[in-house]
Structure formats: C-alpha cells, structure tokens
C-alpha cells in the first residue's frame, strides 16, 4: 500500500518546483519515498524527502525552465521565480568571496549567540515566575536590627505565631529553619541537609506532595511521632522511586523517622539542593521571644501590595514588641517579595551582562555594515556593468538585500550553536553563584530573540550599503564610471561606524578593566591567616546524635566532658599522622558558612538594655591559632589549664581591641557575653585580624572562647596544617576518624585555599564574563578598523601612486594612512571614555578597592584600544607605502 510522502516536504516541493516539471517531480518523490521506506525505514526515507526538496538544483531547474511560454503565470509564482533567481545569485556571489562571507557570519554568530545565552539566563533567573501558584503573592518576612544594619534577620517562634494570628493582610504564614542530620543506613553514615518547617509550609506555597501527605498541626506538637517528607530527587536516587517509600522508617539524627510524603520534582523551596523536610516542633528552649532563628514567609491576600503589608506588619510588630515583657524592642520588620529575595544578589550583575552583551551586538552590527559596505563598493564595476546591460536599480538593491538576509540567517544559525555552547558553560561555571540556574534553558522566546537579533542586524546592515550603492549608481550614471571608491556619504558613514565601534569597545574594555583590576586587588588582600598547606573538615562528636539547630542562647544539655574527650582524642591521633604539623578546631573557619553573635558588654560600658553591642564569636580548641598562623599580638593564647571550672577566658581580635580600648590595654578586662548576668569572661590575649566572611569584607571584630569552657557545640571544624600537600592527608584523616567510630562522616572537606577561592568565585564569574565580552569587542573593533583602512588603501591606490610619483616618501604615505586610522580611534576612545564615566556607575557594588572612575584603568583601556587601532591600520599603511607609481598608473 503506497504511503504519501511527508506533507510539508510535498508542499515545499509544490512551492519551489517549476510548474513544467511539478507533476513528474511529485510522482518521483512519492515513488522514491516509498522505495526507501521499505528498504531503509522511516527516518532515512524522511531525511531523503527533505534532501530532495531542499536541493538548490530545484531553484536552478526553475531558472532553466523559466515561465512556460505564452501562458499567463500568476503573480505569486512570478515573484517566487524572482526570489529564486536572487537566491541563486546571492549564493554564487557569497561563494565568490568566501572569506568575507565567513567574517560576516562569524561576527553575527558571536553577537547574536552571546546575546541569546545571556538573555536565556536573564529570562530564566529574573523574568520567569517562580514555580508556585500565584507566586507574586509570596513574601518573605524578616526581622531587621537597625542598629547593626541587619536587614534580613530571622524571627522568633512567638513573634511568628503572633504575626500569623494577627496580621489581616496575609492569608497565612509559614516558617522554616535550616537543619542537618546524620542519615544512617546499612550503607554507612551520611550528612543530610534539610529544613524544619511549620505545618502551614506546603499549604502557603500551594504545592501538595506527589505522594502521601503534607505535615499537619499534629506533627508539629512536641512529642509527636517524628515524620519526614522527602524531595523527589532523593526518592528517585536513594529509594528507586518505589511507592512503598511511604511508611518507611529512616534513622535521621539518631531518631526513627517515618516517611509520610514525597514532593513533586519541580518543588525547590527554599533551595533545590536539600535532602528532607521535617516538622519544626517548636523546641521549648528555642521558644523565647529573643531567640531569633526562623525564616518567615507568607501568602498575601489578593490585591495586597508589599508596601501595604510592610506598613501593616511594622505597626503590628512594634505593638507586640512593646507589650510583650521580653519583646524585641528596637527591632523592625522587612517584607520582600520572594522573587526579589531570591534574585537580589544576581540582579544587578545580570543586567550589566545583558547591557554589555547588547553593546557587543551593536558592535557586531557596525562591523557587518562596514564589511557589507566595503563589499558593495568593491563590486561597483559589476553593478555598473549590470546597469549598463539594463538591470534596474531596484533589482540590484533587492539583490544586495537578499544577500544580507541570507548572511543573517546563516549568522543566526551559527549563533544558535554559540548560544547552546555558552549556556552550557554558564550553567557549569555559575553553579552556586547564580540562583535558579536550573531554570535556564533555550526556549522559543529566547530563540525568537536570537533570530530577531541576527536577522534584524543583518537586514539593517544590508539596507545601508544598498542605499549607498543606489546613490552611487545615480552618481556614476551622471559622472561616468570611477574607481575611487565610496562617495562622500558612504565615506562619512564608514568613518562613523568605525568611531562608534571603537567607542563601544572602549566602553566594554573599561568595564572589564575595572572588574579585572578589582579582582586582582581582591586576590592580593591579606586574609590575616596563612592558607597554604591547611585542610579543614567538619567533625561531629558521636555520643550526641541530637538534632543540631543553630546555637540557642541557652546551654544545650549533654555531657560536655565526653564531647571534649572525643575531640581531644581525635586531635592527638591526627597530630600523630606523618606530615601534620598543627591541629586545631573552630566552630567557624574563615570563609566558612557558619557564624554566631552574642551580646558583648565590657565592664566599663553601661549601655541601655536595648543598645548592647552584639559581636561575632568563635569557639576554638587545640592549636587553632597555630594551625592558621594567626599571630598573637599581646597576652597569651588558651592553654590546657583553661577548663570547665576555671575562670572563663577569651582572646579578642585586634580590631575588637581597638574598637573598645583605643587607648588602653584590654588584657584583664572583664566582659559579659550573652544576656545572662553570670557569664563574665576575662580577656587574656589579643590576636591578629582575619577576614572571616570573604576577601571583599573588611576584618570584623571577633572574640574567641575555648571549647573546654563552652557548653556547645557538638560539632567542630578540624583545621590541620601539614608539611606535605594538604589533600594527601585527607584519607588518613578519614581513616583516623573511622578507627574511632566507623559511623561518623567527615564532611565539608576543603583546603583553606579552596575556601578562599570559593569566596571569590562570584567576582571571578563576573570578571570572567565581562572580560570575555570586552575581548570580543576589541576583536570586532580591530577587524572593523583593519577592514576599513585596508579597503581605503585599495580604493585609493591610484591617488597614492600619484603622490609617490610626485616625490612623497614611503614614511609620509605610511604616516598619512596610519594617521587616518589613529585619528578615528582617538575620537572613538574619547566618546567611549566619556560614556564610561556614566555607564560604569552600574558596576558600583561589584568593585572592590577601586572607584568606577579609576584613572589608570581608563588610561590603560585607552592605550590598548588606540594601540590596537594603530596596529590594525599599520598593515594596510605599509602596503600603501609599497605602492609602485608605474604599476598603479598601468591599472588605468
């Protein structure tokens, strides 16, 4: 039974084939398709059909046969014949100058491809709505602490409960807190990262579990059976996606926990890398009004704006803070749309990228226009000849437009390849730096943008040369044929294009230069410790397999001495590993994720109760300072004698010492730590400053207390200084730990150098992207200048020859040509520099230790742009100097 060939292919054939051969071609297509369908299968037959109708020979056949003589050909077909004719001519003429065509296609590919890639990132991250029902009504509710400049702080359980019950503008609220537990199975022990969430959590987001149920208020009561909900990915990977997961009992943080639900695959709240959700079960210890550890969010009622909610909740919170006896007086609230919260850090950088890549596209357009202009003028003879043979001006303009359309389509197709590659690269290097990166993909809208960018650019660049050629032809018909190149309009246009290219390249080079400069400064900052040959890892004491939330103000119960014994034992064993020179512990390590803060009230200060300073602290053990090589400035470090029961001691950083004791020696001063009147600690030493939060953050004032005197935590980071490569110690470290307890995981293993690098990865990403675009811009500008100057030299050979014949020296000819290129470049540089004075303000927050108007950066950018311009006009200038007068005159 014969099968008709693919319908669309058949239709294309009907459109393109000449009517004189249409019937037999249709028959042949159908026959050939059926033959191949039987012998080679569907796909091969399908491909074959499309190869038949996509063949250029179809257009050639159409041209040979022409319209049937004596018959009335419908207008539509006549026009199609014309298009086919233009297309054939365009392909032939592009093939005749393959280098030029390649240059144009590559330029367009870079311009449109880079734009598509960045736009797909901007769209995925900034423009695509969050994957929850009516996501614009989701709002984060933070505590603010104006006197410390904290804008987005957590809230306490009682505050959350009061807000939820009393705010009329939220339909409901929910809260969550970070959590991590050891998951124990037959395969060993593993650290899981998760969240403890209120029963309202999933309902507020409006997402139901894929399997099982969400949490209920029952689950949230203290003493309820522990339950857990798993994310889709973990259910897939660890449990083979079987339905009997519901009711399974897992060992999480030493508890037997029952699985009651699995969330759908796209559910990623609050992050897309998590292992579980568990009920919050408000801990009585953490139910105090000043124990702020919950991240609160809510769903606004329809029509309620963020601003209205902000006003309303500010008043409500202020009233509660005033009336409750232990209220958070002096605190405020801050409401922010969930989407704004997620993208806030990436927003500015992404718009800067988009602007930069837009400039690259403009540059690409200018370049293509210039190349096309040169091309059109180089073909003046061809066009004059055709005009003489009777071709109309309209026909030749159409011809040029067909060529530019064809080029832009090819450029767009190549640009698509560039975009696919760039998106892959961005997803790879942006992991962890950009939020919602998993949302980034090339969708129809994004592809539409590429197509519009490439075709728009190509057409725009085709129209101008076409018009110039048309005006040239008009001139030529009056003045007779000339060979001296463009008319005045064309020359000015070309100069203008070069100047704007240089200006754009200058602008991008300055932006890239500022970021590069700032990045170099950042990496040369002294972190305050010696990161070479240091490896750190997280170790947890085994006996206390309790859930470890953030440290509360109250002491956690537990046998401190056993914990201390474990850590001291591990330290002794690690110190025995060959190649280890110092071993210490810290609750926080520099550039690490952890921090905590406490009220810090020196004896000589008597601040108001709500105005007590709060400072970051750290709990350390062993040779913490020696392992990191943090220098002791005065006093002493901790010793074996600083134990539970002995007077409480601490060491402070130099900045802290200067802040409270600018004139005096702080040693021996007593300080109250926290809010309880009893915890008085004596300062025994001052150590050097370290950059704790990142290389771009000034050192913070920090105090250190010995682990032996602290009542928490049950996990510490071990810091090991080695004499050999630090990575080589890691397996021995792990073996040592497992020799003590094989169920304990060694997590967060990283060298100190890696921690520093990770803290600089955001600036590295931004710098990398902008430097790449700056490089593209310079390259395009150089090609542009070279193209124009080389073309000018070629067009003015005769004039140059006459000059040489009249006695002009080679040096003066070189100087003349070089001067032309350099003066255009200088003009462009000035314009670009002036634009940069305004545009680089957008970089503001991304720069470290450098002003957006940094003079050396501007000078360096200008020097390199003008230098490259000079270099790219030097080659054609030298060729001009070698023009031989006789040879030139012979051309005529």
């Amino acid at each position: 039974m014969p099968v008709p060939p693919p319908r669309l292919a058949l239709r294309t054939l009907r459109l393109l084939a000449p009517s004189a051969r249409l019937a037999e071609l249709e028959g042949d297509l159908s026959e050939g398709y059926n033959v191949r369908l039987q012998r080679q299968g569907r796909l091969r037959a399908w491909l074959w059909s499309w190869r038949q109708v996509g063949s250029l020979d179809l257009l050639r056949l159409r041209r040979i046969l022409g319209p049937p003589r004596g018959s009335q050909v419908p207008f539509k077909r006549r026009r199609l014949d014309m298009v086919a004719q233009h297309l054939m001519d365009a392909i032939r003429s592009l093939r005749a100058r393959p280098m030029l065509a390649t240059a144009i296609v590559l330029t367009l590919a870079i311009g449109s491809g880079a734009n598509t890639a960045i736009f797909s990132v901007v769209r995925g991250i900034l423009l695509r709505p969050l994957p929850y029902p009516t996501p614009d009504r989701l709002a984060m509710v933070f505590r603010t602490v104006p006197r410390f400049g904290f804008e987005r702080s957590p809230a306490s359980w009682p505050d959350y409960a009061d807000w939820r019950a009393q705010s009329p503008l939220f339909s409901d609220m929910a809260a969550y807190a970070r959590d991590q537990r050891n998951h124990r199975s037959t395969e060993g022990s593993e650290r899981w990262q998760g969240y403890r969430v209120t029963a309202s959590f999933f309902a507020v987001l409006g997402v139901a579990p894929e399997l099982g149920r969400a949490f209920t208020d029952e689950d949230d009561r203290p003493g309820a059976t522990p339950v857990v909900i798993l994310p889709y990915a973990r259910w897939q990977s660890a449990y083979g996606a079987t339905e009997d997961i519901l009711g399974r009992v897992l060992t999480l943080g030493g508890e037997q926990v029952t699985v009651v639900g699995v969330m759908p695959a796209e559910f990623d709240f609050p992050s897309h890398t998590l292992d579980y959700w568990m009920p919050l079960r408000a801990d009585p210890l953490q139910a105090e009004r000043d124990s702020n550890y919950l991240i609160v969010f809510g769903r606004l009622r329809p029509g309620v704006s963020i601003a209205a909610a902000q006003t309303d909740l500010t008043a409500l919170a202020a009233r509660i803070d005033r009336e409750a006896p232990d209220g958070n007086q002096g605190y405020g609230v801050f409401i922010e749309a969930r989407h704004t919260f997620v993208v806030r850090n990436a927003q500015r950088a992404l718009w800067v990228f988009q602007a930069a890549v837009g400039l690259v596209l403009l540059l690409a357009c200018a370049n293509v226009a210039n190349l096309m202009l040169s091309r059109a003028t180089a073909r003046r003879r061809e066009f004059s000849l055709r005009a003489a043979l009777g071709a109309t001006r309209g026909r030749m303009v159409r011809q040029l437009l067909t060529e530019s359309t064809l080029l832009s389509l090819m450029g767009g197709a190549a640009g698509l390849g560039v975009a696919i590659a760039l998106v892959r690269v961005l997803r790879w290097i942006g992991t962890g730096e950009l939020p919602r990166l998993e949302q980034v993909r090339l969708d129809p809208l994004v592809l539409g943008v590429t197509a519009a960018a490439a075709v728009g650019c190509g057409l725009l660049c085709g129209v101008v040369p076409a018009l110039v050629t048309a005006s040239d032809l008009a001139r030529a018909s009056k003045e007779g044929p000339t060979t001296t190149g463009l008319g005045r309009f064309g020359r000015r246009l070309q100069d203008g294009l070069v100047v704007s290219q240089v200006a754009l390249a200058m602008l991008l080079s300055i932006g890239a230069g500022l970021l590069l400069n700032s990045f170099v400064r950042l990496t040369n900052v002294d972190p305050g410790f010696d990161p070479a040959n240091v490896v750190t890892a997280r170790v947890e004491a085994p006996q206390l397999d309790l859930p470890s939330g953030p440290p509360g103000p109250a002491a956690l119960p537990g046998p401190v001495s056993t914990r201390l014994g474990f850590f001291e034992d591990f330290q002794r064993r690690v110190a025995g590993i060959p190649g280890v020179s110092a071993v210490g512990y810290g609750y926080a390590v520099p550039m690490g994720p952890r921090s905590f803060s406490r009220n810090f009230v020196p004896e000589h200060l008597a601040p108001a109760e709500n105005d007590e300073p709060v400072l970051p602290g750290n709990v350390v053990a062993g040779e913490y300072f020696a392992a990191l090589r943090i220098p002791l400035i005065t006093g002493r470090l901790f010793t074996e004698a600083d134990r539970a029961g002995t007077p409480l001691v601490m060491v402070i950083s130099r900045t802290l010492a200067r802040r409270f004791w600018p004139e005096r020696d702080p040693l021996g001063t007593r300080v109250r730590i926290g809010t309880r009147p009893g915890s008085i600690v004596t300062i025994v030493g001052v150590v050097g400053d370290t950059r704790v939060r990142g290389m771009n953050q000034e050192p913070e004032p920090v105090y250190y207390r010995p682990f032996a005197q602290a009542s928490w935590p049950d996990e510490l980071s071990v810091i090991v200084r080695t004499t050999a490569a630090p990575a080589s110690v890691v397996p021995l470290l792990r073996r040592t730990l497992w020799a003590m307890d094989p169920t304990l995981p060694l997590t967060e293993v990283a060298t100190a150098t890696e921690l520093i690098e990770a803290s600089a990865s955001t600036p590295r990403l931004r710098t990398g992207v902008l430097v790449t675009f700056g490089g593209f811009a310079l390259l395009l500008a150089v090609v542009g200048i070279y193209g124009v100057i080389a073309y000018r030299v070629a067009a003015h050979r005769r004039e140059i020859g006459v000059r040489v014949a009249l006695g002009a020296s080679a040096a003066s000819v070189t100087g003349m040509v070089l001067g032309r290129g350099v003066s255009l470049a200088v003009l462009g540089t000035l314009i670009g520099g002036a634009a940069a004075l305004f545009a680089t303000r957008a970089l503001g927050g991304m720069l470290y230790g450098i002003a957006p108007t940094d003079v050396p950066t501007y000078a360096a950018a200008a020097a390199s742009v003008v230098g490259l311009a000079a270099l790219s006009s030097y080659l054609p200038a030298r060729r001009a100097a070698q023009v031989h007068p006789v040879e030139c005159l012979r051309l005529e």
Partner: protein, 112 residues
C-alpha cells in the same frame, strides 16, 4: 558550444541507456546511486536531463501514472542519435587515454 559531455551528463546518459524503456526520473536517480554510487537529488537529475535535451542528446515524453506515484505521470527519457554519438565519442576518448595505463604502477593493483 559545449561539445564535450560533463561527467554527470555522461553518467546520466549511461543510466538512461541501461534502463531502456524504464528510463524515467526516479529510476535514473536510483540507477545512478545503485551502479555509479552517485547520490544526487531528483532536481539534479532533471537539471542534467533538461540540459541534455536542449543539446538534442535525449528526448522526453510524459508517460503512465502508477498508484505508488500518487497518480502522477512519469517523464521518460530516451537517447537520440546525436546523444548516442556523443556518448560513444566520450567513451572512445576515455579508452584512448586509458590505453597502456592498465599496467601503470599507480593502477597495477587494480588490474591484477
């Protein structure tokens, strides 16, 4: 003008000759692929045949339609006397040029 035959033109003439009464578009295309190993598109076949027809080397006519062709007719091609003569001449030229080269070291292996 154009007394000599192009390479594809020769092959197409030979295909039509080999096919005899079956020499129509789709068959010529398949014969070229089958015997000469040349995968060309249908439109290339028609362009070639059209040029040959204009030089008077072939003549063409519309023939029958079969169900597998969706009821569309076939265009048959047959060699004319000048076509045969041109093909013969091309063959003779080739043969003369090849004469003696069969034992040439570069082709020795092929004739062994």
């Amino acid at each position: 003008m154009g007394e000599t035959l192009g390479d594809l033109q020769q092959l197409a003439l030979l295909a039509a000759l080999r096919l005899g009464a079956d020499g129509y578009g789709a068959e010529i295309q398949q014969e070229l692929e089958r015997t000469a190993g040349r995968a060309v598109t249908l439109s290339t076949v028609y362009v070639t045949m059209e040029r040959l027809e204009r030089r008077g080397y072939v003549r063409s006519w519309l023939g029958d339609a079969t169900p597998v062709r969706g009821g569309k007719p076939k265009r048959y091609y047959a060699l004319t006397a000048p076509g045969l003569a041109a093909l013969r001449q091309a063959h003779e030229e080739m043969t003369r040029m090849w004469r003696g080269l069969e034992s040439h070291p570069a082709f020795g292996q092929r004739t062994r």
